[in-house]
Amino acid sequence: MREGLDQQGGIWRFDDAVMFFCAGALVIAISGLLLMLTILLQQAKPHWWPMPVYHWSSESVQFHTVLGQSIFTDDSVVLVDQGILDRPDARVVRLEKSLPGLRRQKPENAVLVQHKQFGRVFGFFEKIDSGALEFRDNHGELRTVQLNDLDYWYLANQLSAAESWSIAATNVIDFLRQGYESDSQTRGVYPALVGTVVMVLLMTIFVMPLGVLAAVYLHEYAVDGYFTRLIRTGVHNLAAIPSVIYGVFGLGLFVYGFGGELDRLIYSSTLPAPTFGEPGLLWASLTLALLTLPVVIVATEEGLARIPRSIVEASYALGATRAETLLKLVLPLTAPAMMTGLILAIARAAGEVAPLMLVGVVEFAPTLPVKAEFPFLALDQKFMHLGHQIFDLGFQSLDSSSVQARVYATALVLFVIVVALNGLAVVLRHRLNRRYHDLLR
């Protein structure tokens, strides 16, 4: 018997189930991303937002009171940054939450002083008088500091929203701009930012010509046969090799191989102290260029493959040689694809840490990798890098919990850079598609 046109089965059909699972996967992916961003922002907040200053007291006999900002909290302990003038060594205090009758208050007159020499100092505001600030420290002692010696000061518990935002903005800018201050607590990421950017730019200079030319040969000249396919598969698979292997390779080939040879040939006067025979900016950029080469080759080849055969034939039919067709027609049309490949490469390179630790990154470099005089780049020097800063602060620091906010703030900077670069790639890809629309009509 033939049934009507009515829907078969219940309300939930297989079609709906498929859609449900796809949507679910998307929701999970997006919420994961948002969660990460939230955690980064929240954990980094103490590093740039003016947090309240607390006064802790307890009924315990041995315990004195503490004035300061909490920098780390978990179930059992609170770490408090209690900046005291003249005593930068006694900075962090550990408070057990189990102390009898532990209380915290927000004193209205608490003042935060950013001293040029001693860093962050807390106290109770007394008065401001002829270019000097007077405040009592936690032990009741009266202190006077010249305003000239201060970066800034504010009453931490009496800030309006506008003041808080302005302080936060200053902190963010300082975090991005500073880097060589004496106080490691407030030290910014500027050298690491510069190191990352310079290294990535150098890498770009190495990887682009090489990748584009290789892709052009693979796509335009190589005869499509077993060998070409083997090479193409090989190139694609290079992208999947763990990056630390590139690091080891770079160390062996560039640092010890090329670098050692260069030292022997050109810098033999300074041996045994190595010039290029040790990890440095040049070798790090070359290693990353090698690492990102497959990305550029694949993207460029994809771009080349998308150019319709018909317009290439039209060019030949007008009497163009292969090189003329390539230079006048094919490569300009592939440029957006190359740009996309480049930006993907940059995004990948900016986040790479493992290989760099082998070939040139250090936790502290005394100078920037850029110089004012020729050749403007310290190619043989080691440099700082955002990704490595995160790793170093988070895992190598003796008291990692006290720098937690800093770790997250650095991570946020790196995250923003990589997301911005990827966003650029998306925009370029969009433009690329629009241009190809003309071709495919």
Binding site: V223, D224, P308, S310, I311, E313, A314, S315, Y316, A317, L318, G319, A320, T321, E324, K328, L329, L333, R435, H437, D438, L439, R441
Partner: protein
């Protein structure tokens, strides 16, 4: 009757060892005439056309036997530069394929390749080519517009202008109107009729009315070889071969 401009002598073509496309093709093309090549899909019309400007050599594993003589010279000679040959034998493809550039740059492309640098001469020659291709009046105010904004018929006339801008002697048209509407097709046909004053035209088509309308000579191809070649009137009204008659009366193909 003057000497033919192109003589095809026992031409054979294969893509790889198993795929023979053309065999024993013999054809002489008359100067300043329109020769139509008709035949079913897959009979090798387009491949034959692509042999004439050696564009077929871009396909991998291609093998050519026999010879094509253009103005008394073999085009497969060891000293022949195919790019110069292609400047003298222009080609228009089945689907309009303008470059993703401005209208002006499309037409100037071949001229620039030929080494023309003077902006004044470029301007002049682009204008002449567009006039000759009956497109000038429609695009004179927007030469800098992208070619993609033109309609299909306009695009096809644009690529004809692009081909004739370099002043070839022979123009190969590979089903130039097959992707166009009837009115655009008519304009292309009128254009072909006028262009034969200056060029020798070879047009591939599977539209027999079109072949009958535009051509002076017609060749019927089947299975990679020329079955019959005669002046158009004879071929369509009084074919010698049964296969030709079957095809033009629509009994196969």
């Amino acid at each position: 009757m003057t000497a033919p401009i192109i003589e095809i002598k026992d031409l054979g073509l294969s893509y790889g060892p198993e795929q023979s496309v053309l065999s024993n093709v013999e054809l002489s093309l008359e100067r300043n005439a329109v020769t139509a090549i008709i035949g079913a899909s897959g009979s090798g019309k387009s491949s034959l056309l692509r042999c004439l400007n050696r564009l077929v050599e871009l396909t991998p594993k291609v093998r050519i036997t026999g010879d094509i003589v253009f103005e008394g010279e073999s085009i497969f000679g060891s000293r022949v530069d195919p790019t110069i040959l292609r400047q003298r034998i222009g080609m228009v493809f089945q689907k309009p394929n303008p470059f993703p550039m401005s209208i002006f740059e499309n037409v100037a492309y071949g001229l620039r390749l030929a080494g023309e640098k003077s902006p004044r001469i470029l301007q002049e020659k682009v204008e002449q080519a567009l006039i000759a291709a009956a497109l000038w009046d429609e695009v004179r105010d927007r030469l800098d517009a992208r070619a993609a904004v033109l309609s299909g018929g306009q695009q096809q006339r644009l690529v004809i202008a692009r081909a004739i801008a370099v002043e070839p002697e022979v123009l190969l048209l590979d089903e130039p109107a097959s992707s166009l509407d009837p009115i655009s097709t008519l304009r292309i046909e009128e254009l072909i009729y006028r262009l034969k004053q200056e060029f020798t035209i070879v047009v591939v088509t599977h539209n027999m009315q079109q072949a009958a309308r535009v051509s002076d000579w017609a060749a019927f191809m089947h299975d990679g070889t020329i079955v019959e070649y005669d002046n158009t009137t004879n071929l369509f009204t009084n074919p010698r071969e049964v296969r030709t008659e079957d095809y033009i009366t629509g009994r196969f193909g």
